[in-house]
Symmetry: C2
Subunit: 117 residues, 2 copies
DNA sequence: TCCTTAGTTCAAAAGTTATTGAACAATTGG
DNA sequence: CCAATTGTTCAATAACTTTTGAACTAAGGA
């Protein structure tokens, strides 16, 4: 079983920007970037929202071509599609991640979400 | 009379990304970038939408801090806020503009909008 | 097999954004 | 002053997005 992903040449700039323009999704990308190389499963993002809500946001990221999700057992291992994004939109991902770094994280339950390396 | 603009430190990354994630607004920015240095008034964007609709999108760009609008007579002279964007989010604007360059322009009335330098 | 864990799907509700047309305001030129 | 030009505002509507909970599927371990 595999989940649907656009191929690299189908990745659309306005869609990528719109998808990154949501604070929850930007935080997900930021977290993925901080652990680049390590595939994460959905439950690692539970700080950022409920299970259903994350399922929704992670699907948006995947369908936009920002992330890749590999099905392994009952888990989805999620990674950034850095290779394809860099090829298609050089420098974009890095500048977004760098810019996101000195931006406040979303507040969940009254305290700032932690991103531990 | 002056129009409200955020100051540089109030410019928010998710808001900028969301604002750029609309095809009409991305086309406006692309057009501004192609004529950088030359202030444009609203009527130069009429290919991209109706007068009211452009007023709406140009206000979004201004309120997000992406553009600056100077009131001169009955015109608004619109420019990219490159200085502030570059300071706040280094490389972001350039990578977006470069990426937008090989992206289809929005269709208006059945034919692709022209960006003449 | 039964239970748990991981995540999806669905439908409803709430909220937000985009588009339109008609009416308005302000400036400029005749 | 009058008319034209430039652009805004308003209210309505349409369209989309986000969030939620309940129900579901699929895999893995006891």
């Amino acid at each position: 079983m595999t989940l649907p992903h656009p191929n690299a040449d189908q990745i659309s700039l306005p869609i990528v920007l719109a998808v990154l323009g949501d604070p929850t999704r930007l935080a997900i990308v930021r977290y993925l970037a901080s652990k680049e190389g390590v595939p994460l499963n959905c439950s690692q993002f539970l700080d950022l929202g409920s299970k259903t809500n994350l399922s929704y946001h992670l699907a948006k990221l995947r369908e936009a071509g920002v992330t890749r999700a590999e099905v392994v057992g009952t888990s989805r291992l999620i990674t950034l599609r850095r290779d394809d994004l860099d090829a298609r939109f050089p420098g974009l991902l890095d500048s977004v991640i760098a810019a996101a770094e000195d931006t406040a994280l979303p507040m969940v339950g009254g305290h700032e979400v932690e991103i531990s390396a």
